[in-house]
Amino acid sequence: MNERIIKWLVLAGFVLAIAFTPILLSAQTKMLQVKGSDTMVNLAQILAEEFMTANPKMPIAVLGGGSGTGITGLINGTCDVANSSRDWKAKELDLAFEKGVKPRLFAVAIDGLSIIVNEKNPLAKLTMEQVGAIYRGEVKNWKGVGGKEMKISLYGRQSNSGTYTFLMEHVMGNKPYSTDMKEMNGNAQIIEGVLADEGAIGYVGVGYVVDKATGKALKGLKILDINKTANGTAYSPLDKQAVDSGNYPISRPLWMATNGTPKAVAAAFLQYAIGPEGQKVVEREGFYTVGGKLQEQNAKNLK
């Protein structure tokens, strides 16, 4: 057989491989890819594990990376469900529209975003304005907000984090963070930083700072009460009623998003997460259950 025929046979084999690969792969079981918010990663992992226990033929993989990473993944088609601890930004909605992605959002839990300090810090509460001023770098000493003479050490997340964006939009008046802030990889790293640093302040989802046995803050940490205004009453994120009523001013829904109406495994998983069993898991993990209008919206989006 001459060399030219061999080359043409190799080429024909390559073309056939391109043609038949989709058919061979379609026979494989597809794993639901869930990606995004680090605030939600533990919750989503536990929801997925319990769902898979009841539905062993519906595999789910959960990854963190931050809300921005999950949203980008859904837009680029590299995940099926995007977790985010903030609303989608206008530019993300525009990009999704450009790329033919139609996001459907499901609120799976409510988080009381918690402002934490070291337990040795005598301060018990702050106003929203004070939290904003601290993170913008306008107040650099605890004395400036009624505390003791001590330099403030800022702990926060990286910019792909939904919590980073949420705090900037809702507390900091959309102004940039102080460049003195230490940008940590995740909630656990913020907690470690605050535990080790008497002058520290950090922000994390309530599910990360609650001792599930006692319902109180983890040892070594203090969760500050937050006032909407200087004259108002300060509320704790551990107070479910205050979070539900909106009196605790920095609560937020935690979202799972799909491209269009969820189907097959995605539909079953979301139905589970927003249903009574999933909401029990939400409560057990220290977050708050979803009710009222958000659940009505969830039900609409499932159809």
């Binding site: 030219r4 080359k7 043409w8 190799v10 080429l11 390559f14 073309v15 491989a17 391109i18 690969t21 989709p22 792969l25 379609s26 890819q33 680029n76 088609g77 590299t78 995940c79 206008a90 530019k91 909605l93 525009d94 999704a96 529209f97 450009e98 790329k99 033919g100 992605v101 139609k102 770098g137 990286q158 910019s159 900037m168 959309n174 940039p176 963070y177 102080s178 460049t179 003195d180 802030m181 940008e183 491209n259 269009g260």
Partner: protein
């Protein structure tokens, strides 16, 4: 490049001043290397490109090294080296009036720019040696720069005809969103590309309007204009249609025409190069496996009947383990309108990104 050298200190001083103004903590910085490495084998041996002693080779087509510095939520700085192995002059012997060349991979500056993102029309302003507006959107959709440039970008490589299209140039661009259904881009730059210094007073003006009438359907009209001399001009008109309405499938169309008063046949009549391309990608398993295919039609001279070139490119994109490296086997099939015999070339492309 001379201008680039003059521009760099200004940018670095600006960057240092901005950094100092925002505090002492080092901002997030990233380093990234992107490399395209091929094993190429000629399937035919009697075509226009394939009838020579070379039948196969290993080669690096591109190596990029990128440094990015996110100064804050609104400002970003990028410095990118690009390296290719197009014959470089390495020494000049003035006595013998000869030069020496080699094909070593040598870096050159591709990007040095500051990017300012702001909330006004969700816009971005880029200043420095920047990406041009000409084919960025088509290239993003094609997504396989590691396999082939898009039609306008690679036109000169395929036809040998210069259509004054470059991926980077010195100047500034402004991109933004008027409505969800309407985006825009505008730019002004030297028009001398990133590999040459500006030699005349004329600047290239470019702009596009991107219409998104329905989710996943994009229609983009692009125009650039530059005077070549006081009485001569050049203009590129381009249309892209990007179709993303089926999950994991993208089908796109690109057409362009280049109209330059400098493009004259030997009898003095003007000719216009043009071309069109249709390409599609399908993600069989996102992040793991995709297939891509493309057909390009090149018309280097609209006054000649037999100079058209057709090119089919098809291949697989396989990520066996981690997204930092991919294997992209692909085939290129050339068809010439004139008497030249067609070529079939197979590439085993390795894409690396660290």
């Amino acid at each position: 490049m001379h201008l680039a050298k003059r521009f760099l200190p200004i940018l670095l001083v600006t960057l240092a001043a901005i950094t100092a103004a925002f505090g002492q903590t080092p901002p997030p910085q990233t380093f990234q290397a992107t490399i395209y490495f091929d094993y190429t084998a000629f399937v035919t041996s009697d075509g226009y490109l394939t009838s020579n002693a070379l039948t196969n080779k290993f080669h690096f087509r591109r190596a990029y090294f990128t440094y990015e510095n996110k100064i804050n939520d609104y400002l970003k700085f990028r410095f990118r080296y690009d390296a290719d192995n197009t014959a470089n002059i390495t020494s000049v012997d003035f006595a013998k009036q000869t030069t020496k060349k080699d094909d070593k991979l040598r870096p050159f500056v591709k990007h040095i720019y500051l990017e300012w993102s702001n909330d006004f029309l969700q816009s971005k302003v880029n200043v420095g040696m920047i990406e041009t507006l000409a084919f960025k959107l088509a290239e993003d959709r094609w997504g396989y720069r590691s396999v082939a440039k898009t039609l306008l970008d690679g036109y000169k490589d395929i036809t040998g005809v210069e259509v004054d299209a470059t991926s980077a140039d010195l100047g500034l661009t402004w991109k933004g969103t008027l409505f969800r259904q309407l985006r825009f881009g505008a730019g002004v730059h030297n028009g001398a590309h990133y590999s040459h210094a500006e030699t005349d007073k004329f600047k290239k003006f470019s702009g596009y309007l991107q219409l998104v009438p329905a989710a996943g359907l994009n229609i983009i009209g692009y125009l650039d204009y530059e005077k070549q001399t006081d009485d001569r001009k050049a203009m590129t008109t381009k249309v892209d249609v990007l179709f993303d309405m089926v999950k994991n499938l993208n089908v796109s169309f690109e057409w362009f025409s280049y109209d330059s008063d400098n493009m004259l046949n030997s009898n003095g009549t003007q000719y216009k190069p043009s071309g069109w391309s249709v390409f599609g990608t399908y993600k069989i398993k996102p992040d793991k496996l995709a297939v891509f295919a493309r057909y390009d039609r090149y018309e280097p001279n609209d006054t000649k009947a037999d100079d058209e070139i057709g090119l089919i490119i098809a291949g697989l994109d396989w990520t066996p383990m981690h997204g930092s490296w991919k294997i992209q086997p692909n085939v290129w099939i050339y068809d010439y309108n004139d008497a030249r015999k067609g070529d079939v070339i197979f590439n085993m492309t390795l894409f690396l990104n660290f």
